[in-house]
């Protein structure tokens, strides 16, 4: 059987408006902003402690309204990728 996707309670969010805007969005929708993702400008790592840590379904709940915020250009719930040591 094809491996099923495994979703986490972490998100990658592309925000227009820099760190202050990212903090505002995180607070407004119940996330914790863990900061910019490496050197990728406008991309931030959001974490939501009140949703499933792991699930085979994408997350549901009011925190998904984040997607509709005009300041959010792109958003992706993080999937666990199967990686093997060689």
């Amino acid at each position: 059987l094809p491996t099923r996707a495994l979703y986490t309670n972490h998100w990658a969010v592309q925000v227009i408006g820099g760190p202050p805007e990212a903090d505002r969005l995180a607070a407004a929708h119940g996330y914790i902003n863990l900061g910019q993702i490496g050197n990728l400008e406008n991309y931030y790592h959001f974490y939501h402690s009140k949703t499933f840590k792991r699930s085979t379904f994408t997350s549901r709940g009011i925190h998904n309204f984040l997607r509709m915020d005009p300041k959010v250009k792109w958003l992706q719930q993080q999937e666990v990728k199967r990686r093997v040591k060689r």
Binding site: T3, H10, A12, G38, N39, H45, K81, R83, R86
Partner: protein
Amino acid sequence: HTRNEPHSLYFNDPIWSNMWYMHCGDKSSRCRTEMNVPAAWKRGYTGKNVVVTILDDGIEKNHPDLAPNYDPYASYDVNGNDYDPSPRYDASNENKHGTRCAGEVAASANNSYCIVGIAYNAKIGGIRMLDGDVTDVVEAKSLGIRPDYIDIYSASWGPDDDGRTVDGPGRLAKQAFEYGIQKGRGGLGSIFVWASGNGGREGDYCSCDGYTNSVYTISVSSTTENGYKPWYLEECASTLATTYSSGAFYERKIVTTDLRQRCTDGHTGTSVSAPMVAGIIALALEANSQLTWRDVQHLLVKTSRPAHLKTNDWKINGAGRKVSHLYGFGLVDAEGIVVEAKKWKAVPSQHTCIGTSDKRPRIIPIEQTVRTTTLTNACADHYDQHVVYLEHVVVRLSMSHPRRGDLQIHLISPSGTKSQLLARRSLDISNEGFTNWEFMTVHCWGEKAEGEWTLEIHDMPSQARNPEKQGKLKEWSLILYGTAEHPYNTFSSHQSRSRMLEISTSELEPSKIALFHSQMEAPEDEDDYTAPSIQGSSNILQTSPCHPECGDKGCDGPNASQCLNCIHFSLGGVKTVRKCVNVCPPGYFGDATARRCRRCHRGCETCTGRSQNQCLSCRRGFYHHQDTHSCVNMCPAGFYSNESQKYCLKCHPSCKKCVGDPEKCTVCKDGFSLAGVRCIPDCEPGTYFNSALIECGKCHSTCHTCVGPSREECIHCAKNFHFHDWKCVPACSEGFYPEEMPGLPHKVCRRCEENCLSCEGSSKNCVKCKEGYTQLGGSCITNHTCSNADEMFCEMVKSNKLCERKLFIQFCCRTCLLTG
């Protein structure tokens, strides 16, 4: 091949002698070809000032063999989100992998502990990122740790090697790669080294691994001690080079640092090879810290070689390089790479030429091969995208298929190099197909990009399948990466031709290496030779390298214009500065005998000689005449100018002039006539052009000229025939008379006046009326109606001789009749 020094090196590290891959020069050794790491050390290169990090499950930073070179600034714990990359310890020692890899790169030398790292003076760090949920965010963060400080990222992991996965970096990880390449190392580009897959036994193919398949990563494979294919090795066209590793149950594995401050002789798989290449690249970066990320790949292509690696898929590509789907360009050569790196000139900027996407859907019938080609000029019309010499080639492809593992895909370059982009994977039963998957090959490296590329897709079911369910190629496009000029001169890796500039100096720099360890820190100048002294300076010389294009007579300075003779060609004349060049610029050709660039004929861009008829391509505004091989502003008669290709192409044989297409004639040759836009032959009188048979056919005998064989197809009548009712007749029928028609070579039968049977010369000159009519002058009047409208008027008509007029005849019939 590089010379092997007779006496090998000695280190007090206890496992040094078990590092069999460092002693292949010894007679007792089974690995017959060296990776030449010790030889590079002897030249003074040990990785000083180079920073390497291992992306893995952590690094035991206090391991005695790692601590001396451990670098906290090159380390981070992405899983734990802190600065301590130490692995998580458990009973199974599950997280030993990163520490083992780190030891291969930079285990300390002569510290009487474990082994010697390949770059044993490099800085080594570790990024803990595999010991937790690996997500796109985790990968992007890991690939983006301090790109301005870390030089080399080594990764010995990847998507599952289960023979049925197609996976690669997500959106964020891709952006992290791009950021590292563009901004890393102060703009020189981070070096990403990736271990190829380990799914050989599952029939996996590494083109389904988006990390090894990326142009940004150096994908490394492995060979066993005896040069055989390891049981785990995957094949694909994106593998660049190879190192020794484990791979056969009777052959030795790799020794390195292990968890809990131990040492192991059980490190295996392609995990071994990435850190080995990372270490070797560290030596090269010490030799030349200004190497860009592409310079490093060029150096690996140039210095790796097949040696004795056993496989039957070695082939020579269009640039004369041996390459294989198992080993890429072959076994790495540490000495070769540091020697080349030392004098390396940065390759020209990378050009990317994205071909137009072919969206024509193609069904792929079972058991058959679908071939689709694309003809490309490699973006010749955009100077900043034009690719002449290839580096990577990518095919971006989308297709559906009921069972993905049954597919086999090949790409054939204009030079005929065949890269296998995908092989059958019997375990891959997925029906997801491919969506914009990017297959990459390095096998065309160095070839010319322009020409016809062919994509072959073959559906070979490994078991019975519903025949109605077929694969479908939806879309594919070709992406060419490379340079507009030759990246470097074409000498082989070990034939160093640097010619030295001779400058007087007070003393010769101490370059002798006395005792290896203490004096090895100062890099030794490589095998150069010096030109004769100039202007009476003392014999003591300080030398600087001549321009690589200088010939064997040396030079007066470092520039190409200061050579005393040239290896390839000299450019310029008495009035202009003469300089040595590798290839002659546009508008010139290389005179091999005189080793000079000579000017082509006016209008030629490339040519084989001076004369007008030796042009191969033309400058802007000229057209290339295919027959005479000359460049003309206007295509001569009988040719038309093909605007896209800038050629003069032949019109149809019957055309004197044509426009835009050989069949669109505007002027016909003699003996032909224009019919629309076509020239049809002028057939002899009495014949016509039969377009079906494309020949002249005979007209009907009554025709002088015609458009067909029948009587009704005359254009002009034959002699003594008149044209009547679409036919040529010997005489006009009754009621008609033959009339001369200007411009016609024959008469035309015209109708006589009403009620006239026969008339001559004119329809009004009736000579014989129908029955019941009386000829009155040239007219025919019915007998019973011949009366006068008014006697007095008719007397006036008679006296004024007006009876010739038809009008008065009708009013005064009897009077005019009687007056004759």
